[in-house]
Symmetry: C2
Subunit: 360 residues, 2 copies
């Protein structure tokens, strides 16, 4: 039987991925208000959401611009009526060029580059399709993954983009992913500002070559406050602040945990009980989940379909429910095909998670 | 454009989940032949596959009986025409009882129990629906998760099942999940046989109380050979042997790695390159993947959408492809919505993975 608005959460089957909309609203309003006060735009990262219904809900709160990890995520958002999209990564390979050009004709679309051959490929595709793509140079400020070095290499790539028909050089993407979870806030701030200085020096270098830089975008839930309001940064791009998880909550306690997995006790033993959801439904890539509101109950093992919880005494009955707070919201949203949005324990919507399980 | 049989793998977009059917066939035939020789039935674990097309392929090789982790997996298999199904876990909660009874009317269905209240709930549901469910007592032989202790507790539960209308006591489920990945084969065998002795003593105890035990089932890809042919064991239930992964391959080199993720180089730097698939597409819960056929290229980081590969020198071009062998096939199948089955680099089928992202 399909899940219906108005149903109490208690009536639903388990495991069930649940989003508390009151907590989402508080998280979103808090960050959007702070960003507005500091004069910086917010581009919410859709890789943490994967769900068009949730994206539309955030748009209704004033956040209409989204960041995407992949072309497929941008297509899901375009289909949902969102029209200002930045793909935070490189789009590479002949199979994707037609789709990218098609999308560039439908919405205001940008993508990132870090290689001259990719610039050529994108330019050729846009020319062929009669489309224009906004392009940012990705600058590596310490994550040591994609991107070019700050300074001269970024300028060279910016020049090449500017000289490429079908492409419009829009600015700089610089994400400090390696800093997001640093527990010490002072160290996180210090390293974040080091990276920012490199970004802004690169901005100046590009501008002094006569190339305008419209966009400088970066930061995540762990660093947004150091970046927001910094002269020369136009946009921040956090995602996890919307749903949050128990790992991020340790670093960012001002945002509440809106995402949980409702699970049932399926086995009871003298020193532990077992829930009917495991690592296939609750990502363990950032560590163990916690049982909401039950600090005395400790998750000691997460196997594929089971969460083992130790307690002294084990005061549960078979079939009793628990809410499990995952340690990584982005990976957990990706493990499900639908989620239930609730307010005060009553279903408000059941949304498909259109972009989960899609990486193209 | 949908993927079509006859297409070369090189023509497909990336990331792409790929199954090499020649390797699958060799793996399945090897295990099925060994089991037949030892007089034990094989019940392939569908939690490692999640894909009805792959299950039907295994059925065509002679393996028509399947084990499932969840009711939803059993429903997918029943819809695919498979009709002898065992759910290896407890099915708990009022929302699932109607579905379970409905399925018990359609196929030869069994489930496991470890709690008297669950026996009552199942019996009530089957009586109401006019259905009969085969029930196994799950015995904990060291995994310390679900199940009852061997011996007297198992006998008590068997008696209760036998006395419950709508249920048919069929035997014992005993899985040694804690032993599957033990690297030392002698230690793995020794501990496996310890568990088996407990199972068989429990079997005798139940039979000596006048209750027939038709089924004794257990073991996985890491322990099947110690269990197959052991007097009193009727069935083995491995799953990973079909697709395999680089972690299991270290323990079981006789089975080949049939599962890979085809990925493209999306960024090139002096000391590393980056692929366009990460931990959302390649599970890292059992460790890092490896690059197929490239021992000199080391995966050093798996972020959500990127695999970072270090090599000296980095001899790749942007857009070049690599096949990535995941460290955990079960979790990786669960991360995708479709897979491509190939032989010698040519597409034979594109199958939906119906049970991925479903845990009910």
């Amino acid at each position: 039987m399909p899940i219906q608005p108005g149903q109490p959460l208690d009536a639903l089957d388990t495991p069930q991925l649940v989003i508390d909309l009151d907590v989402v609203d508080a998280n979103v309003r808090r960050l959007f208000a702070a960003a507005k006060q500091r004069g910086v735009a917010v581009r919410t990262h859709f890789k943490s959401l994967k769900c068009a219904g949730l994206a539309r809900h955030i748009a209704s709160l004033g956040g209409e611009n989204f960041l995407c990890a992949k072309l497929s995520e941008a297509e899901v958002l375009a289909d949902a009526g969102l029209s200002d999209l930045l793909i935070a990564n490189q789009v590479v390979g002949p199979q994707k060029m037609g789709r990218l050009a098609e999308l560039a004709r439908r919405v205001r679309l940008r993508a990132c580059v870090d290689h001259p051959e990719n610039v050529e490929q994108l330019s050729r595709a846009m020319r062929t399709a009669g489309a224009t793509l906004g392009v940012l140079v990705e600058v590596d400020i310490g994550m040591a993954r994609c991107g070019v070095e700050p300074g001269e290499p970024a300028l060279q790539l910016a020049r090449r983009i500017q000289d490429s028909p079908g492409l419009r050089f829009d600015g700089i993407q610089a994400y400090d992913g390696h800093l997001q979870m640093l527990p010490d806030a002072a160290e996180r701030r210090e390293k974040c500002l080091q990276g920012l200085r490199q970004v802004l020096a690169t901005r100046k270098l590009i501008e002094s070559a006569g190339i305008p830089v419209a966009v400088v975008t970066g930061a995540g839930t762990g660093t947004w406050e150091f970046v927001a309001g910094f002269e020369g940064v136009t946009e921040i791009q956090p995602g996890s602040f919307v749903l949050m998880d128990c790992a991020y909550h340790a670093v960012r306690p001002e945002f509440g945990c809106a995402l949980s997995i409702l699970a049932s006790v399926c086995s009871v033993r003298p020193r532990w009980y077992v829930l009917d959801a495991g690592s296939k439904a609750i990502s363990k890539d950032f560590g163990m989940p916690v049982i909401k509101g039950r600090p005395e109950e400790k998750v000691t093992r997460l196997s594929e379909e089971h969460t083992k919880v130790e307690a002294e005494p084990v005061a549960v009955r078979l079939g009793e429910r628990r809410e499990v707070l995952p340690a990584h919201c982005c990976a957990t949203m990706n493990l499900h095909r639908q989620c239930v949005a609730v307010r005060r324990g009553v279903v408000e919507a059941c949304w498909p998670i259109e972009a989960s399980g899609r990486y193209d």
